[in-house]
Symmetry: C2
Subunit: 403 residues, 2 copies
């Protein structure tokens, strides 16, 4: 793998033909904080996207889902500080207006411009500020890292990655950026993720491999079990490398998929680690489930059990809470069969505690990365989820957010 | 209602023919703390019960469910400090042994003795201590309040209530006690509740009205969304009042049901108020749902949304989080229809914020009791749920529990 993929800088502007620009237009009350950003390709891209399944979907999500039907995109405009959610028809009009301003500035077709918003729910966007902000944005081919910063909300650091590899012997790049640190849970939450590539890719296959990558990465993390209204993950493939468009039959398809998944897994783990108030990341491996869907339920359950997340914060190998969370997750569960491991230490066998090394178990909980393994002994379903602990910091960040 | 029901003291020993006894047998490490209790009737009772739906059910729950098939009970023995859960065949043997010790002491049939355990999961009960404890318990007809105390775990105060009313012109009493303050959520959690009455009641009807009362009370509260392995709610009716056994056709049936529900509602609210670390109780009224099941989903969702619970702790009327929780609850939800009220203040109309009085909304969040109303405008389904806020105190109580 070290030979196949080289990690490079500048995330979404690493692939050929992509430019980004950012500005501070005053949506966020702290002056000077970046809150508006544009990503644009020199040529129209094949685009794929997956979105929140929330019943309360933000206006920009509705716009993206509508325009995705065309399968093409050339730019996306993103603001932070305001989610443009629960804003009714005016909110939807504003989302379209944002893309119209952006299309005019860039001189491209309006229906090739997508948009995202993240921040507080229930307030109308300040359209004059956004219009002025879009005008003042300057675009650059070497500033993807600033784009990663501009879309942050409560994130403590930008989350980005780019890889270089070969398709048909030609150099291809794939770059990704993600924001999100709270309200994150399976099926995505206030998460925005944009991935760019200069490879040519067939739309239907791009949509399929993106969906699969997201299901195994972004959809397997949780900070607090709350689901967001604005989740968006899109891939823009502009084809400037001029390869034969990738599809399932292309001999280099596995290479592209591997690169895509390497990026989504890395960025998903980064989000879990950067969970609001988090001091520890947990990786939960479930095996022996009746099937994959059951393994997913069991693994995810630990990522949004406040009781277990508190034990994790305290470094307490309280396996009863692990069993209680998994057992109530809706997966098939035989209370006389399951094994639990904290790090390398086996704690239960056939559902009851064995005489394990207490010091070793506490040591496995002490670091900033904790690995829990559950074997349900019911089949061959496997899944891995990532999450974090629940701390005073989470509460402090979330008790006084709108003021 | 003031004329129909008189509130009286001593909860479960208020009805005729019930005795309780408690002791400190050393299950809990703090010497002198009550951790074992017996409730017994002078004569066999008609019994009804509802239990956790968790896939990991504690041994005493399995025992109760088995013995409930007989429809009769005369006593229950309860320990705190150890949940006897995830303890395998030995745990089940120990549960039966506990009832055997109790039957011997009381001189009654073993299959009329039920048992409950609450506390840490995954450790075997110290049976010598329990055997000795059962022997040393002294029973009294006037000590129901001590029973309420002995079954507490992290509760800050005992939860109990007794009512006196008339059936066929005869004085009847109904007394209840409940413990629980964490790991509580819809479908019950580490909640133990015992209700006694000296009325005669038909078993099938008692089971039905208990189930309905629990669904609308205990099953509508949550502290943290975690489900427990040991939930138990039982009613013991010893018939000493010698009325015609109550059933659906009995003219005084509504009176009994009203008394039963008054007790379960009061004790459910007490549990929500006593949630671990809680500083506020929230009451969530949902109306206009497509049906009752949808109303229940929407109302409950606010009781286990950490983001909303943090806003509640901070007194922040962040209605976006209310909409986000309800919208992802799985209920039918029209994002252009819902109204949200914080206290008396309407915040949204048809899904978007109106120009509401901010001071009034903040004032409605400032007290220790907050009322949220959501009208989904989709039908006539209604439900009410109760919960609490999420605070540093919750985390402190749950980060170092097993040490």
């Amino acid at each position: 793998m070290a030979d196949l993929f080289h990690e490079i800088d500048q995330c979404v502007t690493a692939p050929k033909g992509f430019r980004t620009g950012t500005t501070s237009c005053g949506i966020k009350s702290d002056a000077g904080i970046k809150d508006l950003a544009i990503l644009v390709s020199d040529v129209p891209c094949t685009v794929a996207g997956v979105f929140t399944t929330h019943n309360l979907r933000a206006a920009p999500v509705l716009l993206c889902q509508e325009r995705l039907k065309g399968g093409k995109a050339q730019a996306i405009v993103v603001n932070s500080g305001n989610a443009n959610c629960a804003t009714g028809q005016q909110g939807l009009d504003n989302a379209y207006q944002m893309t119209s301003f952006t299309a005019s500035k860039l001189g491209i077709a309006e229906d090739l411009v997508f948009c995202s918003s993240t921040g507080i729910i229930g307030r109308q966007l300040p359209m004059e500020k956004i219009e002025a902000g879009i005008q003042q944005i300057e675009l650059s081919t070497t500033d993807g890292n600033a784009f990663a910063e501009a879309i942050m909300t409560t994130d403590t650091h930008p989350k980005r990655m780019a890889l270089e590899f070969e398709i048909e012997g030609k150099t291809v790049r794939l770059g990704g950026v993600t924001k999100g640190s709270g309200m994150i849970r399976p099926n995505m939450a206030t998460m925005l993720s944009y991935i760019t590539t200069d490879a040519a890719v067939e739309q239907a296959w791009l949509q399929q491999v993106l969906k699969e990558a997201v299901d195994d990465s972004y959809n397997m993390i949780s900070v607090d079990g709350d689901m967001s209204t604005n989740d968006t993950c899109m891939v823009f493939a502009n084809g400037l490398v001029d390869n034969t468009p990738l599809n399932a039959q292309h001999p280099d398809a596995p290479t592209f998929v591997q690169a895509l998944r390497q990026i989504t897994f890395k960025l998903a783990r980064e989000m879990a680690r950067d969970g609001e108030g988090a001091t520890k990341i947990q990786t939960i491996n479930v095996r022996g489930a009746r099937n994959k869907a059951d393994a997913v339920k069991a693994a995810r359950s630990l990522t949004y059990s406040p009781l277990w997340q508190c034990a994790l914060a305290g470094g307490d190998p309280n396996w009863g809470r692990i069993a209680a969370a998994a057992g109530s997750s809706g997966c098939e569960f035989d209370q006389n069969a399951f094994d639990i491991f904290v790090g390398e230490t086996q704690i239960t066998r056939q559902g009851i505690a064995i005489d394990y090394d207490q010091d070793q178990a506490h040591a496995a909980m002490a670091g900033d990365e904790v690995i829990i393994t559950i074997d349900l002994h019911l089949g061959d379903g496997e899944a891995t989820a990532w999450g974090c602990d629940l701390t005073h910091g989470y509460i402090d960040e979330n008790s006084l957010y709108t003021r």
